[in-house]
């Protein structure tokens, strides 16, 4: 299938505004919608998995989706005047107010439906696509208010574990001992000293109908979570882990591999909380040592045996707690012999 893309409002040499430009490639057909709504020609780093998350998010949510994008890598790299690669309505908002703007949009749609301006049966998704800084730190109160008021908004937090757009500063979701420019590893202090905020649990504590964690390396699980979130009549929150080459310092080709290892080591557990019921959605029979996850990444290069053992202990405890919440051993025991 050839896609015709209409380019309006742009002054293109040789083409008047309104002229259609034919993209020079064919799309595939799949069980997933063939239509790409997150087009190529964006400025994200080579290997940036924001691209993987956004592509599949829009495949599930479809063209009737309004994206609210607080500033951060995703926003800055995809919409640089005069171009955009989002093929859905998209709005730029400030660093901290994604939740508020999405609330307003959702309320406006409600009113327009009531007045008959928009077909009341038309399902329109409002999704916030925000970074960890824009969610767990500065955007926290806007998010909390949005959840409290029960707006029907899907809030997707892509978590690259730092303020990547502005040069890899630490955030509230930077893991323990990761080196960032504001928490550098030195002789005395081994990088960041705080623990990662469990944002999906914090969101769930607002009593919202759906909250989940997801990992793009486990695509079917992530897609299913987007689908559920879209069906719910109320606020939903999805915390998605996202690998970042310059920030985490791995070889670009390992962008998916490093995410797989995050789950295989129990560093990242995929779970959901639906109407208060906690469930682990991706089981791991035997866990690989956390070192497998760490050693691909330059941000953990400074760690010695002692710190790695400490991190392993933290993960063991986290896994134990999550298993208890789920009522079973869904994430299995550590296999110290496991090959990375």
């Amino acid at each position: 299938m050839k896609v015709k893309v209409e380019v309006r409002g742009l002054q293109l040499p040789g083409a008047r505004p309104g002229a259609a430009v034919e993209a020079a490639y064919e799309y595939a057909d799949f069980d997933l919608p063939e239509q790409e709504l997150f087009l190529p020609g964006h400025g994200l780093c080579a290997s940036c998995t924001i691209g993987v998350i956004a592509r599949h998010m829009l495949k599930v949510l479809g063209p009737d989706t309004i994206v609210v994008n607080p500033t951060g890598c995703a926003e800055v790299s995809t919409v640089t005047y005069p171009r955009t690669n989002w093929a859905v309505p998209w709005i730029h908002v400030a660093f901290g107010n994604g939740g508020s703007v999405a609330s307003g949009i959702e309320a406006a749609i409600k009113v327009l439906k009531r007045r008959g301006v928009i077909d009341p049966n038309r399902k329109i998704n409002v999704v916030v696509f925000a970074g960890d800084g824009g969610t767990a730190d500065i955007g926290f109160q806007a998010l909390s208010g949005m959840l409290e008021r029960r707006h029907r908004v899907i809030y997707v937090m892509y978590d690259n574990e730092g303020y990547m757009n502005t040069g890899i500063q630490r955030s509230g979701t930077t893991p323990l001992f990761a080196s960032a420019t504001t928490s550098p590893a030195g002789k005395k202090i081994p990088g960041n000293l705080t623990h990662k905020k469990p944002m999906a649990l914090i969101a769930a504590a607002h009593g919202i109908p759906y909250s989940a964690t997801a990992n793009p390396a486990y695509l079917p699980d992530m897609l299913e979570k987007f689908r559920k979130a879209a069906e719910i009549d109320g606020p939903s929150f999805i915390h998605v882990l996202q690998s970042c080459q310059p920030g985490w310092r791995f070889e670009p080709k390992y962008a998916i591999k490093v995410l797989e290892l995050a789950t295989e080591t129990g560093y990242w557990v995929n779970y959901e909380i639906e109407d208060g019921k906690f469930r682990i959605t991706v089981t791991v029979p035997r866990r690989k040592p956390v070192e497998c996850f760490l050693k691909l990444q330059g941000r953990f290069k400074h760690l010695g045996k002692e710190e790695i053992a400490f991190l392993q202990k933290v993960i063991d405890e986290d896994v134990k707690r999550l298993n208890e919440m789920a009522g079973g051993e869904f994430i299995g025991p550590l296999d110290p012999e496991a090959k990375c």
Partner: protein, 311 residues
């Protein structure tokens, strides 16, 4: 004296360090220098430019340079996309290029007879001395050769203060570039006036876009779907994926995990049983947009995709 230069490279090639090295070395030699790198929102691999002005009198004007005396390219693939920079160089000025191609071929790509051209294999020298494909050291050396400043000793000091590591290796790369760069002198005088100027927009436009005045911008700064398709990010690539169809089992993992929508499923004609030509589905790549990250090759369960060097 006043030398205005524009440096063009890609995020990750060390262009910022390069202009800082030349600036510090020039100051050590008793000149004044202003170095201001300028990058847009794009990331690693995307084009970056930096301005560097060297004077022998004090001046405090960090203005963007519109018509440079010198243009330095750290990557010959950028000459075409950044042609406006080549066109804006003053007649009698210099275009310095890092390229593995022959000097005559590079001169052909530049296509101007009224400028001096200097060519060196910056990546080759960087790999030889430093072990990294970062051509900034060699380009500093070539700049010093064609402009006659700063002095090599000052460059060494500046490498130490700006890089702080691998000083000997980087200096050796700069010195070899200084010695071996091929200079092709301008054959013509050229017209005294040039009409092209480097645009002052901070966005570094690499696609087939034309900027319009503020009064022609759609209300609210609207941009329209599909406008990114004219930004061919394939030029960022150092390696490209190629596929061995005989190994592909059409599992589509490559398609699923490509962040740039650059893996395509297309129809391909193949010889079927009895020599009949049949149409089969096959994986292909959109080289217009593929950034060469290597994810597809890494996630392929059968090893059907290989990354091959392109530069």
């Amino acid at each position: 004296m006043r030398i205005e230069s524009v440096w063009i490279g890609r995020g990750g090639q060390g262009i910022v360090t390069a202009v800082y090295i030349v600036a510090h070395a020039s100051i050590a030699d008793g000149f004044y220098a202003i170095a201001n790198p300028e990058f847009g929102a794009e990331r690693r691999g995307a084009p970056v430019k930096a301005f560097l002005t060297i004077t022998d009198y004090f001046e405090d004007s960090p203005e963007p340079i519109k018509n440079p005396d010198v243009a330095v390219f750290l990557d010959d693939k950028l000459i075409d996309t950044m042609r406006v920079v080549v066109e804006a160089v003053k007649p009698g000025g210099y275009v310095i290029v890092s390229s593995g191609k022959g000097p005559e071929e590079v001169a052909g790509i530049i296509g101007r007879k009224d400028v001096n051209i200097a060519v060196v294999d910056g990546i080759g020298l960087a790999l030889k001395h430093v072990g990294l494909a970062v051509p900034n050291g060699p380009m500093v050396g070539v700049f010093a050769k064609v402009m006659g400043l700063p002095r090599l000793e000052s460059i060494k000091e500046a490498i130490a203060s700006q890089l702080g590591k691998a000083v000997e290796q980087n200096f050796a790369a700069a010195v070899e570039a200084y010695k071996t760069a091929v200079v092709i002198p301008a054959a013509e005088a050229g017209s005294a006036k040039i009409s092209v100027e480097i645009p002052t927009t901070s966005a570094f436009l690499t696609g087939d876009y034309e900027l319009v005045g503020w009064d022609q911008i759609p209300e609210g700064g609207l941009v329209y779907p599909g406008s990114s398709l004219r930004y061919k990010t394939g030029s960022w690539r150092v390696e490209k994926p190629i596929i061995d169809h005989s190994k592909c089992i059409m599992c589509r993992r490559c398609w699923l995990f490509c962040p740039d929508d650059a893996v395509l499923e297309v129809w391909r004609e193949a010889k079927g049983p009895g020599g009949r030509v049949v149409r089969v589905k096959a994986i292909d790549f959109s080289y217009d947009y593929c950034k060469g990250c290597g994810i597809c090759a890494q996630v392929c369960p059968t090893g059907a995709i290989q990354m091959v060097r392109e530069l």
